[in-house]
């Protein structure tokens, strides 16, 4: 998944399991996380693209990714591995929106 030294390009994918898909709050969380990385971070509903800038909430919302769809992520540049991992962790975590209140 990593193309040698030089330019890192990482792709990965995960299913959207949170209650309502990539809607308002998840989009804000995703873009905020993506912006914390210097490398480019893009998302898509298909491995073939079209790829959308994960740092733009407007563009991410236009994807309208529903629950159950598979979100692909592509990061390239310095720190791409960490960026892709962080984005996937957020998606797999259901954007921190799990039901069930207390974790006591």
């Amino acid at each position: 998944m990593k193309d040698g030294d030089g330019m890192e390009v990482v792709t990965d994918r995960a299913e959207l399991t949170n209650a309502v898909g990539l809607h308002a709050r998840p989009s804000v969380k995703l873009t905020r996380l993506a912006k914390s990385f210097a490398c480019s971070v893009e998302i898509s509903l298909s491995a073939e693209g079209p790829w959308v800038d994960a740092k733009s909430p407007v563009k991410v919302m236009r994807v309208r990714a529903p629950r159950g769809s598979v979100l692909h992520v592509r990061a390239s540049g310095a720190g791409a591995i960490a960026a892709a991992e962080a984005v996937m962790a957020l998606v797999r975590d259901g954007f921190g929106e799990h039901e069930g209140g207390d974790h006591g």
Binding site: A24, S27, M61, A89, H98, H103
Partner: protein
């Protein structure tokens, strides 16, 4: 005028009676197009002003409301949103026409979504559109809403909802709108009755007297005597039920036989303390530090943590404040800290196991907590403790940090050091743990004892806190605590479930920690329990 009934979808339950105030969607006057440069500047300034207004509103708000407006802030901060408008201005359009057209395209994209959640976001975009439009042509004042009015509109923008003082009663009836919209979520949180989708034109209802039963989605226009009488019955039933709970708010929780039970609060965000009176509780039984800071990369630095802990301790006015060290892992991963791809994260590196693997992070947290202990009765609670060695390892780190802080001349106090009881190994061998207090995490204890994952609906019935084995363990922990004089509390969902409270108290639990919104019903359930019947 004849009585008429309208039916819609319940978005937030509740009853209201009042006069209809119709909110018209505001439309700014069309401006004359000036030079492209002038129009672009006007739009840029209007967007910046709308952005500043929004951020000010977000600062004043907390929780869901702040997060929902946060979406608008994020959208408005994104140059992509206005890009088509600036392109149109370049081609000769006026600022407002260009903005309206660009937003119309964006809104249409949302409104056409089959997914109801996305479609509902169209209302947020309309709100963004109108905020910017108002700033393009200042002077259009907002329509004043009389006290207790029933607000009728096609749809209600979030900004307008937030501008209305709902403490004075009132309700929302939308001819359009959606129960999954942001406004509906906030209406539920704030107890504002709300019905969506009654159809028709809002203007047709202007000035009418209405009875709103938002639980059933029914609106009665110009009610006759029979409808009024029926409504009055509903009102008195609802009032009796709420008053029954409200009277417990400031009362110390006591069982029917007079046993005093402590009711503490679970806190996940500092904003939860806004407007919350510490006197409704005996203290804070659980602060979830992993949720407190909303940080994707672990915990913030010592000063930031200290400021947060101090704020909570000051708020508590001397009441005990139990702060749990980072409880990440399991269903709460933190990028860069927790391990990805564990085949069974609930049995993996989580809670204190994880903190002990990141000693620098844990030490920082212990230092901030030791400093905050000077301000109030701050106690440290360790999650997911399995063996006594973990408790002792943290105690040694705490000792070292206390010494090092004192050497630096920093004022510190040793906080009490307790553990959560959620791993069966700790519950069974409770006598081996020399902790200052114990707090039962009923959610995890139940899932570990019954081997039924709490995130799996298919086995949800097995994950029952009333399971004999779970209740025996809770009883054994409570007896041990009473025997050695160490407090035993319970901070899981079970404590806030009125159907479980009596059983927990019978098992020997004398302290419960629940969400702030569950205090009244928990105290009511305690009052109904009678320990003489054991």
């Amino acid at each position: 005028m004849a009585e008429r009934r309208l039916f819609g979808r319940s978005a937030a339950p509740g009853l209201a009676q009042g006069i209809v105030a119709v909110l018209d969607a505001e439309r700014a006057e069309r401006r004359q197009a000036g030079a492209a440069e002038h129009e672009a500047r006007a739009l840029r300034e209007a967007i910046a002003a709308a952005h500043a207004e929004l951020e000010m509103q977000v600062d004043r708000l907390s929780g869901d409301a702040a997060e929902m407006l946060g979406f608008q802030v994020a959208m408005l901060s994104d140059d992509e949103l206005a890009r088509p408008a600036f392109d149109a201005i370049e081609a000769g359009a006026s600022a407002d026409a260009a903005w309206i057209e660009a937003m119309a395209a964006e809104i249409a994209n949302y409104a056409s979504a089959e997914d109801e959640y996305f479609a509902a976001r169209a209302a947020d975009l309309e709100d963004i559109r109108d905020r910017v439009l108002l700033n393009l042509s200042p002077g259009d004042g907002a329509v004043a809403i009389p006290e207790g009015a029933v607000v009728v509109a096609a749809d209600l923008p979030l900004s307008r909802f937030l501008a209305i003082d709902w403490l004075r009663g009132g309700a929302i009836v939308l001819t359009d709108g959606s129960p999954s919209g942001h406004v509906a979520m906030l209406a539920r949180a704030r107890g504002v009755p709300m019905i969506t989708g009654v159809g028709g034109a809002p203007a047709a209802l202007a000035g009418a007297e209405v009875l709103v039963d938002a639980a059933s989605g029914e609106v009665v226009l110009n009610p006759g005597d029979a409808a009024r009488a029926a409504f009055a019955v509903k009102q008195s039933t609802e009032a009796a039920s709420l008053a029954g709970q409200a009277e417990f708010r400031y009362r110390d929780a006591c069982t029917a036989d007079g046993t005093r039970i402590k009711v503490n609060l679970n806190i996940s965000a500092l904003s939860e303390l806004d407007g919350l009176d510490p006197a409704i509780s005996d203290g804070i039984g659980l602060v979830r530090t992993e949720l407190l800071f909303h940080d994707a990369t672990g915990l913030p630095d010592e000063e930031t943590q200290f400021a947060a802990y101090r704020r909570i301790a000051v708020w508590a006015e001397g009441r005990p404040v139990t702060i749990r060290t980072l409880d990440a892992g399991g269903d709460k991963p933190i990028p860069g800290v927790t391990i990805d791809g564990e085949s069974n994260p609930f049995l993996g590196l989580r809670g204190i196991r994880l903190s002990l693997r990141h000693p620098a992070m844990l030490r920082t947290q212990l230092r901030a907590l030791a400093r905050a202990a000077v301000v109030g009765d701050v106690r440290i609670m360790l999650p997911m403790v399995t063996i006594p060695g973990e408790l002792e390892a943290v105690r040694a780190m705490l000792d070292a940090e206390l010494e090092s802080l004192r050497a630096e001349g920093v004022v510190v106090l040793r906080p009490a050091l307790g553990i959560m009881i959620e791993v069966p190994a700790a519950a069974i061998a409770i006598d081996e743990f020399d902790a200052d207090f114990f707090s039962i995490g009923s959610n995890d204890l139940t899932q570990y004892v019954t081997a039924a994952g709490r995130d799996m609906g298919a086995v949800a019935e097995l994950a029952d806190p009333l399971n004999t084995a779970v209740m025996r363990l809770i009883g054994a922990v409570a007896r041990h605590g009473a025997g050695v004089g160490r407090e035993v509390s319970l901070c899981g969902d079970a404590g806030a479930d009125p159907t479980l409270v009596s059983a927990l108290l019978q098992a020997g639990v004398r302290s419960l920690s629940v969400a702030p919104s569950a205090v009244e019903r928990t105290k009511q359930a305690v009052a109904a329990a009678d320990l003489r019947l054991a």
